[in-house]
């Protein structure tokens, strides 16, 4: 029964979880590992599941796994949180448009808290309350950080040659 439920969640949310981990870690294979581990952990901890927000609960698990990875598996690049990852798939290079690649790169070059709040609020479209729950922040911090994060992203994009009508 639990297994069936996890399978249903996987059908519904696997893309979202994968993309979240990918944007956060910027590594396809790691994102796949996080995806699998998220649902396995959900299965093992299903007794902690509360019916109200499945997606938010799964994102919380995924985030903790990502943080765990960043803390423990990257001793070399620990100092520079913005270091671009050294490997990339050829497919990514060939089939993704320039604009999307620039946006992906600009997002990836933001500090992690900025990246996280943009991913959750703007890409995955979680509410402020849901985002606050996943990030373990209060709602005011979500709002202020999002505002700063968007400014930082625009600054990054300006460096890449983007323009905007009004500042």
């Amino acid at each position: 029964m639990d297994k069936q439920r996890v399978n249903q969640w996987y059908d519904e949310y696997s893309q979202d979880i994968y993309q979240y981990a990918l944007y956060l870690l910027r590594h396809e294979e790691l994102a796949k590992d996080i995806l699998q581990d998220t649902f396995l952990k959900a299965y093992k901890n299903i007794h902690q599941y509360k019916e109200e927000n499945t997606k938010g609960w799964l994102f919380t698990i995924a985030r903790n796994l990502c943080l765990d990875h960043i803390r423990k598996k990257h001793p070399i690049n620990y100092m520079m949180d913005t270091v671009p990852h050294s490997s990339r798939t050829p497919e990514q290079s060939l089939h993704t448009s320039e604009t999307v690649k620039e946006l992906y790169a600009a997002l990836g070059n933001l500090k992690r808290s900025y990246r996280e709040v943009i991913i959750l609020r703007k890409i995955k479209e979680f509410s402020v309350t849901e985002t606050a729950m996943i990030l373990n922040w209060n709602e005011a911090k979500v709002r202020t950080t999002l505002s700063r994060a968007i400014q930082a992203l625009k600054k990054r994009l300006e460096m890449e040659g983007y323009e905007h009508e009004t500042l």
């Binding site: 297994k3 996890v6 399978n7 996987y10 696997s14 893309q15 994968y18 993309q19 990918l22 944007y23 590594h27 294979e29 994102a31 796949k32 995806l35 649902f39 396995l40 299965y43 903790n64 960043i70 803390r71 423990k72 001793p75 070399i76 620990y78 100092m79 520079m80 949180d81 913005t82 270091v83 671009p84 050294s86 490997s87 990339r88 798939t89 050829p90 993704t96 604009t99 999307v100 620039e102 946006l103 992906y104 997002l107 500090k111 992690r112 808290s113 943009i118 703007k122 479209e125 373990n136 968007i150 625009k154 600054k155 994009l157 460096m159 890449e160 040659g161 983007y162 323009e163 905007h164």
Partner: protein, 347 residues
Amino acid sequence: MKHYDELDEQLKELDEHYKLNETDQEQILVQLNEKMDLNNSEKKSHWKPLVATGFAIILLIVMIPLFIQNSTNEASVTVLPESFDYQSVKWELELGMTPSEILEIIGLSEPSEIIESDQGFVTYRFDQGIADGYVIEEDYVDIDGLINEKVGMQVFIRFDENDEAKYISALDKIDAGINHYHLSENPGAPEFITEQTISDQHEHIQFFHIEDYVFEVPSLSFLQQYDPHFKEQFVSMEQFNAEQYDEIYDFLAWSVLKHYRAGDQILIEETIHSLEYESNGDFTYIEVGPIEDTQFWAFNGDLTDRFTVGETLRVKLDVIPFSADGLYVKFGSSVDDFPNIDDHLVD
């Protein structure tokens, strides 16, 4: 000029371009279900220890003949001759060679393992110096085996659809770590070689994804600017970045730090733009660097009470070897966590 007035829309579009393909999605689900079944059976085993013990005895009886048979098979596993060493891989094997040409040069009739990827590519794996009784369970790099000296060297040769060697990679355990040689074609550099030394503390993620990933290395012209000298003065992040910038490939080649040698220290002086404590991971982000391109350093613990915005911070970063010959270096640390700022502060 590109516009970001529709930034919200463009961000939402990202998902369309970074989707997990259906094959991988299904494969991960299959593995997930297997693991859930395994977890389930483990749970059951706690409830039924007597049944489990009985089953184990039966299993043991059934497995003994199989184990004996396996032991016999293990003895006949093909291994790379000791005479064909790391240098032989570098100098005798070339891209474009066919499987039979490679086997002839090595002097074997078959590789230790033939690995077929989901994409249909074939990779030959050759193992050398396997400890008695040790069984390699990984298809690709057995990093644990190498680090623990259960495996002396592993060579991987991947062939393309024309049965020609597309990349040649070797991992050789030495006292200082692991030599890594990787020869492949690359659109930016027609041919490149990386040699990396990986110590126990710096096991690198590249090894786990050798099959489907390309590794970015600096351009040859960047490397030719190599001018090692010991730095004794403080530099800003802007100056440091400018030194490491590879104009041809348009990226910061932090992985080679061409002006430094292993054992040097990079001395950086910067003004703190912001401090932010992450309670979840118990570390503090310190924002420094030129305002148009700030960097975020992460240090262990809550430092928000200890430092203030606008304060000047002087830190030293250790330069560690990255390649076997020590010519390639990078900054790093042997710690398996965020560093303590006191280890890096300079008065």
